[in-house]
């Protein structure tokens, strides 16, 4: 197996590491950081906004660039957390606690450096994890039949809902609305159009790009504009040194190792991912620390652990997507949408049918991480300056790039109307306390769920027991039930969940 692992990675690197692809990884990383570092724009809107630029490329290059964007956006989020105490997303909330405290003490450079080095280490381990766990999981996935796939998606959606923030029941509602929206368009089985209201542009599904840009990008702009005081960074920080000193290394390496391990494992779980990993790592670091009172006052472990954990998890959360075709969170749903647009249906088949694509993507993740380290770290000064650009100059540009992105996919004004509709819809839902992330997961999985349900019920001649008779499916459903029951029966668990998401 070990030899295979190396051989597989070699295949990947020889495919991904062409000069051209390295260029795309570089560009993706740069753009991802550039947008991701802007205050008030988290990784999801960043990736949504930048998706369209990758569409013109060939599949591997576009995936390589996408991976670059993904890492850039994530790292951009950490940068804003540390420097200005604005977490771009839930996963970097914990980084704010000690990271920003370090920045206030004039150690912003060290915090950013440790975050980048820890992330790079975690990313490397995560890549090896994918290479090691990918093939066996993909082999297992080959055993999956329609009922198993259906149950797997149920499990994935339920865990994603449990781990989403805000109200559980509303998250369930959002997933279901997403599933429904995913069904709009021509029914593959009967050829009839559903819910299209005579709009030809949605005959084959509602397009993914205008939907996500509308619900994440545009809604975000509108929300920022509503605030009387726009997120205005306080740049009281001095960038003394970027490279952590010897003492910092000694303090941080344990946290990096623990964070990496924890993150790698938690990332694989369907519904898991970066958020859970960074919270878990912070809690763990506090537990193992000799003097827990330092946390919250600029403890380097409080940055090193969670940042490593969330990067490791971000990496390994590709495993369920690439082997089972199951996106475990909204970011993975975006990745899946991008792959589908490239004509790749993520799942075990990719690994066997197009190994150079699969392994190329795995290799490109590592390259993306490397780019982050060698290019972004020296450019920290530029990113910091970018943070001080006032929002009134930024938002027209962001808006412009959003609409250009949407329009360039199909050169069709209707796509922009769709985007506008979802911007309004997303805005209203946010006002009512409904997060859009679960909806996107449902939207991506809608057609797949229907197809697998249909096939399962054809096999069983309409008997729903098929989902319990097959052992894999039964195990997956049992896990789902246990999770749901645990959440209902154990009130502590519910409280922990609430606390974990409290800002």
């Amino acid at each position: 197996m070990d030899f295979n692992l190396i051989q597989n990675l070699a295949t990947g690197f020889s495919a991904a590491a062409s000069l051209e692809n390295l260029g795309f990884a570089f560009l993706g990383c740069l753009l991802g950081t550039l947008i991701g570092v802007l205050p008030g724009i988290g990784p999801i809107p960043t990736i949504a906004m930048l998706l369209p630029i990758t569409f013109g490329l060939d599949p591997l290059s576009s995936l390589v660039m996408l991976a670059g964007i993904f890492y850039g956006a994530q790292y951009g989020g950490s940068t804003t957390s540390i420097l200005v105490n604005i977490p771009g997303e839930a996963a970097s909330i914990v980084t704010c606690i000690d990271g920003h405290e370090m920045a206030k003490q004039g150690r912003a450079g060290t915090a950013l450096g440790v975050a980048a080095l820890g992330s790079f280490f975690a990313g490397t381990v995560g890549t090896v994890f994918i290479a090691g766990f990918g093939p066996p999981l993909a082999a297992l996935a080959q055993e999956f039949n329609s009922p198993d796939n259906f149950s797997l998606m149920v499990l994935g959606l339920v865990t994603a809902v449990i781990l989403a923030h805000g109200s559980l029941i509303k998250a369930v509602g959002m997933v279901l609305v997403g599933l429904l929206l995913g069904l709009v368009g021509t029914d593959v089985n009967s050829g009839l159009t559903r819910y299209t209201f005579g709009i030809p542009e949605i005959w084959d599904r509602i397009d993914f790009v205008p939907l996500v840009i509308g619900m994440f990008g545009i809604t975000e702009i509108i929300r920022n504009l509503e605030q009387t005081s726009l997120p205005r960074p306080q740049l009281s920080t001095r960038m003394r040194e970027l490279w952590p000193r010897g003492q910092d290394f000694r303090d941080a390496w344990g946290a990096v190792l623990r964070g990496t391990g924890l993150g790698s494992v938690l990332g694989i779980l369907p519904g898991g991912g970066a958020v859970l990993a960074s919270f878990a790592s912070y809690t763990l670091e506090k537990k193992v620390a000799k003097d827990p009172s330092r946390f919250g006052k600029g403890a380097i472990e409080g940055v090193a652990g969670p940042e490593s954990a969330n990067n490791a998890a971000a990496q390994t959360s590709f495993i369920p997507l690439l082997t089972l075709g199951l996106p475990s969170n909204a970011i993975m749903a975006l990745m899946m949408g991008a792959m589908i647009i490239q004509g790749i249906q993520p799942g075990a088949a990719v690994m066997t049918a197009r190994p150079e694509l699969f392994w190329g993507m795995v290799a490109s993740m590592w390259i993306g991480n490397l780019m982050l380290l060698v290019i972004n770290l020296p450019l920290i000064g530029v990113w910091v300056r970018l943070l001080s650009v006032p929002y009134r100059l930024l938002y027209p540009a962001i808006l412009l790039f959003c609409v250009i992105g949407i329009y360039s996919v199909n050169t069709n004004a209707t796509e922009l109307a769709i985007c506008a509709v979802f911007a309004v819809f997303g805005y209203i839902l946010l006002r009512f306390g409904c997060e859009p992330a679960p909806l996107v997961l449902g939207f991506i999985l809608g057609p797949l769920m229907e197809e697998n349900l249909r096939r399962s019920l054809v096999i069983s001649r309409g008997s729903p027991w098929v989902f319990i008779e097959r052992p894999i499916s039964a195990a997956l459903l049992a896990t789902t039930v246990v999770l749901v029951l645990a959440l209902i029966v154990l009130p502590q668990l519910r409280r922990t969940r609430k606390e974990a998401f409290r800002e």
């Binding site: 630029i53 013109g56 109200s167 029941i169 509303k170 369930v172 509602g173 279901l176 609305v177 599933l179 429904l180 069904l183 089985n189 009967s190 009839l192 559903r194 819910y195 209201f197 702009i221 509108i222 504009l225 009134r392 100059l393 938002y395 027209p396 540009a397 808006l399 412009l400 790039f401 609409v403 250009i404 329009y407 360039s408 050169t411 069709n412 004004a413 209707t414 922009l416 109307a417 985007c419 506008a420 911007a423 309004v424 805005y427 209203i428 839902l429 006002r431 009512f432 306390g433 409904c434 769920m449 229907e450 349900l453 249909r454 019920l457 054809v458 069983s460 001649r461 309409g462 008997s463």
Partner: protein, 151 residues
């Protein structure tokens, strides 16, 4: 009768009920089929009814459990941004990316309060963004846009 304890939940309930009822209503013209031979309406109609059920549950929560109030809707940014997006879509093919980009920038400026709008700054920004987007998207990335007035 009922006292609304969580306005946010009430709003969410209304949205879910509306989506669910619409899904079931417009799905009713689709053939349901049987479980063993699902028609095009089978899955969407079932989903719609579950969404209705969720709407009811959230609605009950709204009148029983205390919850946060709804932040007031601010129509100005919402409407201006939406209008800017639509205008972009419907004019870019005719007047080209440069002018449209500038127009969008100027329109977007109106999303802010009157006293905050700085005419000179907006015009400069519009010009800069127009040149930048034409340079980047039309010339560098060869995206399918006419650059200047239809060409």
């Amino acid at each position: 009768m009922f006292q609304i304890k969580s306005p946010q939940d009430l709003g969410a309930a209304v949205v879910f009920l509306a989506v669910g009822v619409a899904g079931a209503y417009f799905g009713s013209e689709l053939r349901l089929g049987t479980a063993g031979n699902m028609g095009p309406g089978f899955f969407p109609v079932i989903l719609s009814w579950i969404v209705v059920a969720i709407g009811v549950i959230v609605g009950i929560k709204a009148v029983t459990v205390e919850g946060p109030r709804v932040e007031p809707f601010q129509l100005r940014p919402l409407l201006v941004i939406v209008a800017a997006i639509l205008v972009f879509g419907y004019v870019v093919d005719t007047i080209g990316l440069a002018l449209t980009a500038a127009l969008l920038t100027v329109l977007a400026a109106f999303a802010r309060r009157w006293r905050e709008i700085n005419a000179l700054e907006t015009i400069l920004l519009a010009a800069a963004l127009a040149l930048f987007s034409v340079g980047l998207f039309v010339y560098a990335l060869s995206q399918p846009f006419p650059a200047w007035w239809g060409r």
